[in-house]
Amino acid sequence: MNSNLKIQVGSLVFKNPILLASGTSGFGKEISQFYPLEILGGFVTKSITLKPKKGNPPPRIWETYCGLLNSIGLENPGLEEFIYYEMPFLEKINTNIFVSIAGESIKEYQELAKNLKNLNISGIEINLSCPNVDRGGIQFGLDPDILYELTKSIVKISQKPVWVKLSPEVGKIIPVVNLVKDAGAEAVVIFNTFLGLAIDWKERKPVFKRIFAGLSGPAIKPLVLRYIWEVYEKSSIPIIGCGGIMEFGDVMEYILAGASLVEIGTANFINPNIGKEIILELENYFKEERIEDLVGLAHKRKEVSL
């Protein structure tokens, strides 16, 4: 292990900045057949809900140019099965485990946090991309008052580090990020998927039953990086970068733009070894320097272009 890769975010220390993103590696068992998960800086579980969820009907995925649209619909086994069947495996892994939670009401998120409180996990990642049924289906991330209340209560109830994962739909990002910080979150995760659309022109109808679907993969990387840059400039909350990371160079871009950690998503589908391969490259690259010193470095070198 290379200690130059070590980085602190909020109250937690990560052995390297590489995490696997929620919903792209399940609860870890499959990827652990490719490499031991303890080499990762951290692991974020598939989002769980209070009750089991069957998810959306097929088709659930659709390939686009350098990207992937998905409409999984949060299929997951629910809190109880998660604790019973998945936690025993996860809690043995010697790295930071984050449990991603999703709900349709503040109460559901709170109930989840209450039940996770006594588990051996590093923290909670709040997935905001659900419709809030108490407020006519508006996404949690889009309603500032609700977002503040939600974050604050999860921090309080869980007594663990809380990360808030934003969706690109948030619009003006700086007020949102500051609000989340004031509510006590240790970091923001930027981003969940972008809403996109595909039409099956041969059938002359939308591909997905839900019409819109989440776009991920290399196509979104430049879009996300621009937000990482902006948040780093204008806010002091630690940033977890997520979107389109496929290889070592992409991680470097995120770090230099201002992310302290990154989460790898879709790339796991294309290469289940990707987490390990990137960590090996980081170990090679950071022989002399400390990764911590490179976070946001590109901001100081704006004028150096040319």
Binding site: S25, R60, E63, E75, F269, N271, P272
Partner: protein, 248 residues
Amino acid sequence: MFREFEIVKNISIDKDIFVLKLKNEPYIKGLPGQFAMIRINNSYDPLLLRPFSFYKISSDTIEFLYQVKGKGTYLLSKKRERDRLRILAPLGTNFPLPEKNEKITIIGGGMGIAPLSFLLDLLPEGVKIYSFIGFYTKVSKKLWKNFEERSDYFLITTEDGSIGERGKILDFIENLEEFNRIYACGPISMLKELWKRVEDKSKLYISLEERMGCGIGICLGCIFPGKERNLHICKDGPVVSGVEVNFE
């Protein structure tokens, strides 16, 4: 599990239909019904790996049968001898083999014949084999020779009657109950009709298809409604028993 293989040949055996043959090194011990995820390009377009059922495996080579349908298969068809491909395999469930002296039927539609042909290669001596395979239109004999040679009874149909009987394959199978096992792979409409017609669903083994994002159970993209719970085709399948699925 994710390794590089060298192409021995990649040739068209019929209009749009190719056989990809790889050196079986590092050695893969795949079973009929199981599949491989192939990385077609080292670029990000197309982004995802593509699933292909094993068509034939020997100690030296691995073969896949595929039809050029989209960008991925088109690019694959342009690969040449000695090119290398990254492959994740073997994946998924396989067709359980019958006992000696059982009477079985094999029912294939279109490219669904690929895993069934591999199954034929591995059937034990003494099994009585009834094969029924159907296509839209005339295809090269290379595609069905193995079925004709290895089966005790063989029937081929095309929807336009250009070879074999004219019509859909299921219309030519009268009694399904006489078989100890029924193996099938093909279009979903065919599998559905077959499933409805088989009374004892535990005798039926079908290989399912759905878009796959990962092939290893992490994207949850490959859903199929099951009897009691969702089936993920890459992990719970592609081969499932008739009792596990629900076509109602």
